[in-house]
């Protein structure tokens, strides 16, 4: 990583590269920084451009107001509730995907049974059916099953993932036959083999998929928009959309900014803290 490419410039050329990187980073990170700054100012300051580039004095006030449910446009639901909803949905989707994809990949790779490849293709083809192209009928299924405004309704339709199944299948296929033979000679059944050998070997992949799917779950928009009517069940992204109106004068911008910060921060932390697995997993799994 530290070694430069043979064509890397020296001296001035390298400084120019740094200049572009700094400029790129500023453009990329500025909107996030800007929201954070805005969340520490009063609405009056926010409405009088340009906004100062340093934090203001209203931080404590804004954050405590927002957390205690001072936002009437979303029915006074507290930020805790929104964060809890979003966390449940994101975790449910990430962990659920990992569980069911691992199980089905395990079945397809380590067993032989009739229609095995048919099952694989059945799962594989769902790659071509993103939720956006089947919203109306999927919504109807949710209504028929009584899943509107429930956590299962938010989680289940997004939980089946051909990508994760394919990735685990690919990884399981690299496990040498000898390992399975040895395990079977020692009398290990499917569960023992999974728990003692396969699971420890899969941890890196699991971590990468977890990050990718957690972000996927946290940033969902269209689906939560459709299946939640009550303010109590909103994810934070949807609540944010509901509380903003650019036409209205009475949007509580300071509280909107606090909500934005809290909607952005958790997934950013997950990505940055788990960066090592995430980057490796993203680049390797998708290629």
């Amino acid at each position: 990583m530290a070694e430069a490419s043979p064509l890397a410039p020296r001296g001035a050329g390298r400084l120019v590269a740094h200049f572009w990187m700094v400029l790129g980073v500023i453009v990329v990170a500025f909107p996030v920084y800007y929201v954070f700054i805005a969340s520490t100012h009063s609405t009056q300051t926010i409405l009088r451009p340009p906004l100062p580039l340093l934090p203001g004095a209203e931080a404590a006030q804004n954050y405590s107001d927002a957390f205690s449910g001072g936002i009437s446009r979303i029915g006074g639901v507290s930020l805790w509730r929104l964060l809890a909803n979003t966390t449940i949905v994101a975790m449910g989707i990430a962990l659920g995907k990992i569980a069911i994809s691992m199980a089905s990949a395990y079945a397809i790779v380590f067993f032989r049974f009739p229609l095995r490849m048919a099952c694989f293709w059945l799962i594989f083809i769902t790659l071509m059916l993103p939720v956006e192209v089947r919203i109306q009928p999927t919504y109807k299924v949710m209504v028929d099953l009584g899943l509107i405004d429930t956590y299962p309704g938010l989680i289940l339709p997004l939980i089946a993932s051909a990508t994760a199944t394919l990735l685990f299948r690919q990884f399981f296929m690299t496990i040498p036959d000898e390992l399975l033979e040895a395990a079977r000679v020692d009398g290990a059944g499917p569960w023992r083999f999974f728990r003692d050998i396969l699971w420890p070997l899969s941890l890196t992949n699991v971590a990468a998929i977890f990050v990718i799917q957690f972000i996927y779950g946290w940033t969902q928009y269209l689906w939560p928009l459709l299946v939640t009517n009550s303010n109590d069940m909103n994810t934070i992204v949807i609540a944010l959309k509901k509380m903003i109106s650019f036409a209205d004068a009475d949007t509580p911008w300071n509280l909107v900014m606090v909500t934005s910060v809290l909607a952005i921060l958790p997934p950013i932390l997950v990505v940055v803290l788990m960066q090592r697995w995430f980057v490796k997993g993203l680049v390797e799994t998708e290629k």
Binding site: M1, V28, L127, D177, L222, V237, V279
Partner: protein
Amino acid sequence: MRRTVFPHKLLPWLLLAPQLAITLIFFYWPAGQAFRQSMLREDAFGLKSTFVGLANFRKVLGDPNYLNAVQVTAVFSALVALFAMAIALFLAVQAEKVIRGKGFYRTLMIWPYAVAPAIAGMLWLFMFNPSFGTLAWPLRQMGIHWNPLLDGDHAMILVVAAATWKQISYNFLFFVAGLQAIPRSLLEAAAIDGASRRHAFWTIVFPLLTPTTFFLLVVNTVYALFDTFGIIHAVTGGGPGKATETLVYKVYNDGFVNLIMGDSAAQSVILMIIVIALTAFQFRFIERRVHYG
């Protein structure tokens, strides 16, 4: 091919059951319904529907509003894919040149990946909204009548910027990985031959990046087609007029706001065909996988 397997016959079905159940209930059944509905037309009260064959498709494809959405989507996707990839490639090349601070730059570059598209859109509208946006303020001072809430072109610029901003991180990571995979011996040979850096980039580096570029082209197109729904919905609502109404937004709008089921279903089917075509294209030419999450 694996030689050793477990002998169980029932267990694999139990392991597959959850995924198959969810796939059938939430993927195949609704997709089938979309096909069925696309050939039905409901009466004015939604009580009775009659089979109309391909009439819904003819109606949709002859509708000027739909053709407008096709055009908007094409412009939007092309601009987003072009800018998101060009900027990311440029930055990835710069990142390759620096020695210190690579990790630091990368950490700051990946933030937008974690930001929901809808929030990305709202952030940009907040910074650039005509009445109190801090970055719209200098535009006004310069005498530009910047108003994305009223001017269709301005609205398009804003949603393209937000969608591009969000996608740069992703492309950056892939281009960095692609650049690192280029054999050093080739670059050394070029350096010894006295090739200029620009020349070496266009004749060696860029051609070797083709697989990455193709892969990203498809991913970015799919992203611009589908994942940007949140940006459009949160920022412009398809407006002003229909200046930013994309295909996915129109499916949503016709199905859930205007409640025209047959049209909405026909549009869904057309979108499905587009996705299948894109995926097939990707498999045919790149043999890599698409990620929808």
